[in-house]
């Protein structure tokens, strides 16, 4: 069975993020991704939702983090939305996973979430409109089964 669309809303608590990640992984497996590919997508959702909670809401509970997943043709599109503090959209362009050739102390312990998402996804965009921030992630996967037509 193929599911074409799914929306999840979690509270802005880090403890809630695994639920969103798990549901998206199941969604991905349902549309035909391998367990490994589905696990990578789960990781992206978790990283994006963590960022919303930590940076958007400054770890404050009681706010909405919405996760949207859609399967259309060979594209899987995911959005993680929050209503917290926005980030500079230009940040997305600059971020890359760094090589670590220097001293151990020079290797950062954090700040890899977006770089991981960019390394896994085909395309990553960020939009901050009015009071809603959207991290839009697209994964192109050839040979996925067709999504169910919505009526």
């Amino acid at each position: 069975m193929c599911i074409s669309e799914m929306t999840i809303c979690i509270d802005s608590r880090l403890e809630s993020v695994s639920l969103a990640g798990t549901l998206v992984r199941v969604f991905c497996e349902g549309v035909g991704l391998s367990p490994a590919e589905s696990g990578e997508i789960e990781l992206c959702i978790v990283e994006a939702a963590n960022n919303s909670i930590v940076h958007g809401y400054a770890r404050s509970p009681g706010h909405r983090v919405e996760v949207f997943a859609q399967h259309e043709s060979d594209d899987l599109t995911f959005e993680v939305r929050d209503h917290g503090k926005s980030m500079d959209p230009r940040q997305i362009e600059k971020i890359r996973l760094e090589r670590h050739d220097g001293a151990l102390d020079s290797i950062p312990e954090g700040g890899r979430g977006l770089a991981i998402i960019k390394a896994i996804m085909t395309r990553v965009r960020y939009r901050a409109d009015a009071d809603i921030n959207r991290l839009i992630m697209t994964k192109h996967v050839q040979g996925l089964p067709k999504a169910l037509n919505r009526k």
Partner: protein, 111 residues
Amino acid sequence: MRIESKVVGRYLVVKVLEPRLGADRAVNFKEAMWKFVDQGQKSLVLDLSSVEFIDSTGLGAILSVLKRMGTDGELLVSGASDAVDSMFKLTRMNRIFRMFSTVDDAISAPV
């Protein structure tokens, strides 16, 4: 954060008993591991065989343990599942940590 530890030779083997090492557990994990380091443990094996999922915050917490140990410390990672191993490779952390399939492989590896 549920962990168990046992001494094997000169190593303290610490097994993470949680299936997920994510941002919600990272602080507790780090504090538990730092205790071992602060008690003077210089050789640790971190057994991740029960961990099915790790995010960048969990990975950062493991890195913080290595940093806490300093240059004369040794932190070996064992039992990484495919998903966890893939995360180490994606972030190139497999070049920072010595990784082994099993605890036995880790403790019998040449220094």
